[in-house]
């Protein structure tokens, strides 16, 4: 019996769901293992009878919470896909600004028409069984998590930082190039893809479980970043995780 799966999205860019479309021919192999009963972006049919729910996007409004709780009730396994769902993602950037200021800036006097609250990952509202980190998640990690769930084993998500993958990929360290990188405190699993493409790690997969944040900030400052800028850098993706500490 193939497990039934469903896809849902909240406040996000749908980039993670696009990665599923980007599986290309592997989509067919995936369909050989699971039955998709709901995937609004791609199909008309919908069913509330599913085993595994994949959720993309952050929870940014009180009204989203009910929808999340309903999904949790229906599903045996809930998987958060993409940074917005796993750690709050780029949405958490605005948590540092007063909610009202943000609304006014975008909607002017009509701001009061649109409700919003602190952007949060979905595990702030419901228990989550598995995470596929990244902005966007990678197809490889998504498939790895799916295979683990199908095999009944706990997905193997790294607890070490991106530096491990960066060194294996023989990159020239960002700091050696006069740039600033949060790889040393960011969870690996992306195969250091951004540094491989010639840039830096922005931290989209969230902080590792026991980051040495002071050391990382010291490294940033030692290399020329101001204290304020170092703090700002951490807010790009770590906004929710830092506040939780």
């Amino acid at each position: 019996m193939k497990p039934k799966v469903a896809f849902f999205d909240f406040a996000g860019c749908e980039g993670d769901q696009l990665q599923i479309a980007n599986l290309e021919e592997d989509i067919l192999a995936l369909l050989g293992q699971v039955e998709v009963v709901s995937f609004r972006e791609v199909m008309k049919e919908h069913s509330d009878n599913y085993d595994i729910a994949f959720i993309e996007g952050s929870c940014t409004r009180l009204q989203d919470e009910d929808r999340l709780r309903q999904i949790r009730k229906n599903a045996k396994i809930v998987v958060a896909i993409g940074s917005c769902a796993t750690i709050g993602g780029i949405n958490s950037l605005r948590n540092y600004k007063e909610t009202d200021d943000v609304r006014k800036a975008v909607y002017g006097e009509n701001a009061k028409l649109f409700d919003t609250y602190t952007a949060r990952p979905i595990d702030a509202v419901i228990p989550v069984d598995a995470y596929v980190h990244g902005c966007p998640m990678t197809k490889e990690e998504f498939l790895s998590v799916v295979k683990s769930l199908l095999l009944g084993k706990k997905p193997d998500i790294p607890t070490y930082p991106v530096c491990v993958e960066c060194k294996k990929n023989e990159n020239v360290c960002a700091f050696e190039r006069g740039q600033f990188c949060v790889g040393p405190v960011t969870r690996a699993g992306c195969d250091s893809c951004c540094v491989n493409e010639g840039t830096i790690c922005w931290g989209c997969r969230g902080l590792i479980d026991n980051p040495n944040e002071n050391s990382e900030k010291e490294v940033l400052i030692k290399n020329g970043l101001s204290v304020d800028d170092a703090i700002t850098k951490f807010r790009l993706y770590f906004g929710w995780q830092e506040r939780r500490k």
Binding site: D26, K147, G152, K153, P161, K167, K168, V172
Partner: protein, 638 residues
């Protein structure tokens, strides 16, 4: 020695590149740094480099390598290591050559790694003497700035030409086949080469304040200096950079990677590092090196002491990669050892160079990474967490284990777990494993039915020696799941009862419902040739218990034994050993009469991947059975 003009050398390299049967690797620029990579033309070669980002070890022990493939229908098979193209690596510095020689010894100790050696065999090393040196490099102090062997060819830049020292027949044949315009070196050339080599050490910007031969001894005095290690490791990011770029590091992890059909897949090994947080963590969640100072210290000890004791060399070639890659700048061995030396001097401690250790390296064949298929022939749940499995190898062979050894059990696509063998070697047709469901693999094992297949590797490890115990009184002390491995010896002793003296079994669990092998224990209680005493930490209202209540040490005063004649055999949760041993010592049991079985995170089973290491010992190879006299001084053991 020969001489080749630079234009002819360029042609030589291009000739190699044009030969499709060869894989030609050389040092190229990468950003502002350098790295070994495939050459498209001789023009890319940068022999004037200082150091590469990663050492050439990546060609022999790659970042990621498939060891085994599996197919649910047919089982496991080795990824054939034999079809490697001839690889020519151009531009290897002497320190990296020294490192490869270290790796050769490490990868052939006890059991040899066929994947590594196949690549070593099919490669040609063209070294080059250093023209530039990174400011972090301290190779001259480690005697690795120049080298007289270990290469097939060694180049020295003499301006408009290279001097080529020939190190092997392979090297000579390569020159004969692809190079033109070679002449013999003149006395002047040879003199110049000598001069260039002597000039290398003058490039060194690092300064070690003492002779490196003092390192092993200094380290062993400094093991317990917590403040020293805490201060030096405070900024550690646990990023693993220092070990991942190191030419002599070889720890690895092994994971299963099924394909989407779940019908087949591969088992892959990848680089791992002891500085990473979860390196020494086991399925129960216990982490045997949970703090930064303990992990940080371990790297220095492994390089400067443990490998020295085992192989006779300090496993550091002074390349400086670790120091240059450490963002908080705490990984430079020179800084650390200078600090240590200064403290030693100030405290007046006397440190001398150690004697050359007694080295006895044997190689008994290749490591077998490929599991054999076996079938579950019986499944007997014992408690809510533990189930006894009886397993038979499909090829009909006998496992042939010693009591106390373990096997690595594979579940297709999920992974491998080390499980102690619970049955005695006298039971030949099959063997028994008592499995506690804890992590991915053990949970899957619990889900198996009679008739299902597993993969078995092993038996591994240093087990009990029943012969040496003949005629002695045996005092077995088992805590919880610790009874499972002890049973392999215990039941052997029962099978050969008259060969042994008094036999006592003390067995403790948290609660009555956690007792393992309950039926056998009942039968044991009826025997008059065995003194069996069970205990539980507590007995809840709902359960019935009429024997001792209290931790296992409360049983020790209840038994009589002659310490001179008695051998204690202990196995249980980590916390138990300290207390049991203390009580036995109070009863004057000699250290070498105390034998125990320890557990760590065992992966490869053959003392290579590094995960089970406690100080200088590999639990999977030197243990899991240890004599207390030998392990008493090992701080991480108990």
């Amino acid at each position: 020695m020969r001489i080749i003009a630079k234009e002819n050398f360029t042609e030589f390299i291009n000739a190699l590149i044009n030969d499709d049967s060869l894989n030609v690797i050389g040092v190229k620029s990468k950003g502002e740094k350098f790295a070994f990579g495939p050459l498209d033309s001789a023009g890319e070669l940068r022999l004037d480099y200082d150091v590469t980002l990663l050492p050439p070890k990546k060609y022999f022990f790659p970042q990621r390598e498939t060891l085994v493939t599996y197919n649910i229908g047919t089982g496991f098979s080795a990824k054939d290591p034999a079809h490697t193209k001839q690889t020519v690596i151009v531009g290897v510095h002497p320190y990296d050559i020294v490192a490869l020689l270290h790796m050769d010894e490490i990868f052939s100790e006890t059991k040899s790694d066929p994947y590594y050696f196949e690549k070593r065999k099919s490669s040609v090393i063209i070294g080059v003497n250093m023209q530039k040196m990174s400011k972090w490099c301290f190779a001259p102090y480690m005697g690795a700035d120049t080298i007289e062997y270990g290469y097939d060819l060694m180049l020295t830049d003499l301006g408009n030409r290279y001097a080529v020292a020939i190190g092997s027949q392979k090297g000579e044949q390569l020159l004969d086949k692809y190079a033109k315009g070679l002449t013999n070196a003149l006395a002047r050339d040879i003199q110049m080469v000598g001069q260039k080599k002597r000039e290398v050490s003058a490039m060194c910007k690092q300064k070690l304040d003492f002779s490196p031969e003092l390192i092993p001894e200094m380290l062993s005095r400094y093991y317990g200096e917590s403040t020293f290690w805490e201060n030096h490791s405070e900024k550690c990011l646990a990023c693993g950079s220092c070990v991942l770029v190191c030419p002599t590091c070889y720890c690895f992890d092994v994971k299963d990677n099924p394909d989407l059909s779940l019908e087949h897949g591969e088992r892959v090994r990848t680089w791992d590092g002891c500085l990473l947080e979860d390196f020494a963590k086991v399925a129960s969640g216990e982490n045997f090196r949970a703090t930064r100072p303990t992990r940080y210290r371990h790297r220095y000890f492994k390089k400067g002491k443990y490998l020295f004791d085992r192989f006779g060399f300090i496993s550091c070639v002074g390349c400086g990669r670790c120091g240059s890659n450490c963002l908080p700048d705490i990984a430079n061995p020179v800084s650390l050892f200078n600090d240590m030396y200064r403290e030693v001097q100030q405290s007046g401690l006397e440190v001398i160079a150690p004697q050359a250790p007694d080295i006895n390296i044997q190689t008994e064949g290749n490591i077998d990474y490929v599991p054999r298929l076996a079938t579950v022939i019986k499944k007997q749940p014992m408690t809510s967490f533990e189930t006894l499995f009886e397993i038979k190898l499909d090829d009909g062979s006998v496992l042939g284990h010693d009591p106390g050894q373990f096997v690595e059990v594979s579940i297709f696509g999920v992974g491998e777990a080390p499980i102690s063998i619970s049955s005695p070697p006298t039971k030949k047709e099959s063997f028994e494993l008592c499995v506690r469901r804890l992590g991915n693999v053990t949970n899957k094992i619990h889900g198996l039915k009679v008739g299902d297949k597993v993969g078995i590797r092993g038996p591994f490890g240093h087990g009990f020696d029943p012969e040496a115990l003949k005629g002695k009184d045996l005092l077995f002390v088992a805590g919880g799941l610790g009874l499972a491995p002890l049973r392999s010896l215990f039941n052997y002793v029962l099978d050969k009862r008259k060969d042994y003296g008094k036999v006592t079994l003390l067995y403790g669990c948290k609660e009555p419902k956690e007792l393992l092998f309950a039926d056998e224990l009942v039968a044991l209680g009826r025997r008059d040739d065995v003194d069996f005493k069970p205990t539980v930490d507590r007995c809840p209202e709902s359960e019935v218990w009429s024997s001792n209540v209290g931790v296992i040490t409360t049983l020790i005063p209840q038994i009589q034994f002659n310490p001179e004649k008695t051998y204690a055999i202990i196995c249980g949760p980590p916390i138990m050993y300290k207390f049991v041993i203390a009580d036995l010592k109070k009863r004057n049991v000699p250290d070498d009469h105390i034998i125990m079985s320890l557990e760590r995170r065992m992966k490869c089973g053959v003392g290579k991947c590094g995960h089970c290491q406690i100080n200088h010992i590999y639990v999977c190879k030197d243990g899991p059975v240890f004599n207390y006299a030998k392990i008493r001084g090992v701080p991480e053991a108990l």
